[in-house]
Chain length 356, copies 2
């Protein structure tokens, strides 16, 4: 059966990087992958056109798609929109929530060819391979009540950090299963010494552990996790945490590798429907210049093939092609270093296609 | 008038490190500083004795003191206490809250003698000097409602992230004033693209800015701040943020320096009453061995002299003495490196006293 793929270029460098990734999708199709690719508007691009970041048409297409490839959303142009609900980011959050994409997989991998790009000493990051599993449709991002209102003669702002046992269990299982497929170590990150919601989190993780006897479960407070990522990141295999802590830690971990322009991510629901996007943002400062790194987006296609389309062999071929162009010394500006050849976004796309 | 100082050794390595810092306090007194030092119980030590982490007697002493020197609280021994209110950490949070110590100052400084201890490349951290101003008596740490309860047939855990305008303004002013005394750059960290409470936070910071025209105010999302700290920490001068984000970012920043055993902190209220403590924790794994690094606690005494006792000259002398022992090549195990002499907690205390 033909599977629908929706490409959402989004804002900033989004259109440039998804253009290259779409070429890879097309190449997969040419090799027999039964997909139908269409495009849609999300984020600032959608706001400019329709006055809202997630138009009904986009949501419909998203629901009908087996997988979504997203560039990135947001930029200073839309930061002044008064109504938070209309900001580009809310389009992204809307897709996550509406499709129930609760399971966010954020790998932090150091590519051997790029280890020197890390701000950490090479020996600390060489061979780094962490998978952060972040809960993506709950927690403080979506908790009610929330708002800004007048109380006792002044305004207060408030949000609610909330998780139910079933939400925790669901993401916990994703993480335990991920650990089983990898190094069998799972570190659950919380702030159980202060926050009740994370006491429940820890309790549920503990309750699940006996069902995964081959996985070694540990717990770490979020402040310590932030430190340990800086101090000795290779101690981690799989980490699992809530939406907000996951946002912070996965970005820190990605940056540790020194090549955030290389890191893809997946956001999955229970039926394997997924959204795939680079870890980096929309980089408005370099948008339109044709110099952005398309590799994280191309590697997001590989994740899509692995997690939503059940085509692990094709996924590996894309990853191998990316490894090949790095071996060949091709670099976009963000990962350039002495002795390598700096290429444009499109040239990088050409090279991966040629190696694929 | 004689000023009261309360020393709270706490748990783990707390008693060992405060013992050395107390010798410095005594030396200050011998040189004419008009203080009266007493001790009290906090955290696990208090729980073991009185069944609660913040006994009434300790709280009374704390209120009567001009300044408090704390070692550290917590440890695995007390992690299993069912009632969160009885855990060691709650003793610490109780003192903060009861004394209104809303302004937490967390410097992240790289000592030139220790730059190579950082996990970051030396050029990225040499000369690093960031001051993180963290709000300490509000936000999600204290927000109501909070708890774990049954809803729709399952348990949910929830906490409330809440700030009022006046709370934000108060910590904002501390940060702006700090920036005025330093490099005149203030970066306010929030998640205003998602959380209403931080939209208000950003708005209040913006409102204050015109009153401090010599300070350049910028805003950064917390995920980006975590990345930028790893990528290029020297871009920051003063950072200001809420309780939870401050917990995470200040620990990450401290670890960047490579010598978290060197970093003091201050927690102040409006009248300059303050609690001073090392940034590091109670390190139960090395407690009782006489090898812990007392320098962060000794430097906390320097902060106490500067911020609560109005004795900047004495503060500088302590800091100079610490610089001297580092120059002399003395190191506790945590900061030891080739060509230096590893000393015990007490030997380090001896050396600082001798240089003072
Ligand atoms: C754009 C923003 C809403 C989003 C988030 O905070 O989840 C982004 O930072 C991410 O991590 O995907
Ligand atoms: C011990 C704990 C409650 C505390 C906090 O989270 O504030 C600590 O991590 C700190 O940063 O002082």
């Amino acid at each position: 059966m033909t599977q629908k793929i929706l490409v959402l270029p989004g804002d900033g460098i989004g259109p440039e990087i998804t253009a290259q990734a779409s070429r890879i999708l097309a190449a997969c199709k040419a090799r027999g992958l039964d997909i139908e690719v269409e495009e849609g508007l999300l984020g600032g691009a959608a706001y400019d056109e329709h006055g809202e970041p997630l138009p009904a048409e986009t949501l419909e297409k998203a629901k009908a798609a087996r997988a979504i490839l997203l560039g990135a959303v947001g930029g200073p142009k839309w930061d002044k929109i008064e109504d938070l609900a209309k900001r580009p980011e809310k389009g992204l959050l809307g897709v996550r929530k509406q499709l129930g994409l609760f399971g966010n997989l954020r790998p932090a991998i150091t590519y051997p060819q790029l280890a020197s790009a890390s701000s950490l000493k090479p020996e600390l990051v060489a061979g780094l391979d962490i998978m952060i599993v972040r809960e993506l449709t709950g927690g403080i991002y979506f908790g009610q009540p929330r708002g800004i209102e007048e109380r006792d003669g002044e305004r207060v702002g408030f949000n609610t950090y909330i998780y139910s046992e079933s939400e925790i269990e669901r993401i916990g299982r994703v993480a335990f299963e991920m650990a089983q497929k990898r190094g069998k170590k799972l570190c659950s990150v919380d702030k159980a010494n202060v926050l009740e919601v994370t006491i429940l989190w820890r309790e549920v993780m503990e309750r699940l552990a006996p069902e995964y006897p081959d996985v070694e479960l540990s717990h770490m407070y979020v402040d310590n996790a932030a430190m340990q990522l800086v101090r000795a990141p290779k101690q981690f295999d799989v980490m699992v945490t809530g939406n907000m802590f996951g946002d912070i830690l996965s970005d820190a971990a990605a940056m540790l590798t020194g090549s955030i322009g290389m890191l893809p991510s997946a956001s999955l629901n229970e039926s394997g429907q997924g959204m795939y996007e680079p870890c980096h943002g929309s980089a408005p400062d370099i948008a339109g210049q044709g110099i952005a790194n398309p590799l994280a987006t191309i590697l997001s296609v590989a994740m899509m093939l692995r997690y939503s389309l059940d085509e692990p062999a094709l996924a590996e071929r894309i990853e191998a092609a990316v490894g090949q162009v790095l071996d060949d010394g091709l670099r976009t500006a963000d990962i350039a270093s002495e002795g390598t050849r700096t290429v444009s976004t499109a040239e990088m796309g050409d090279a991966v296609l040629a190696a694929f």
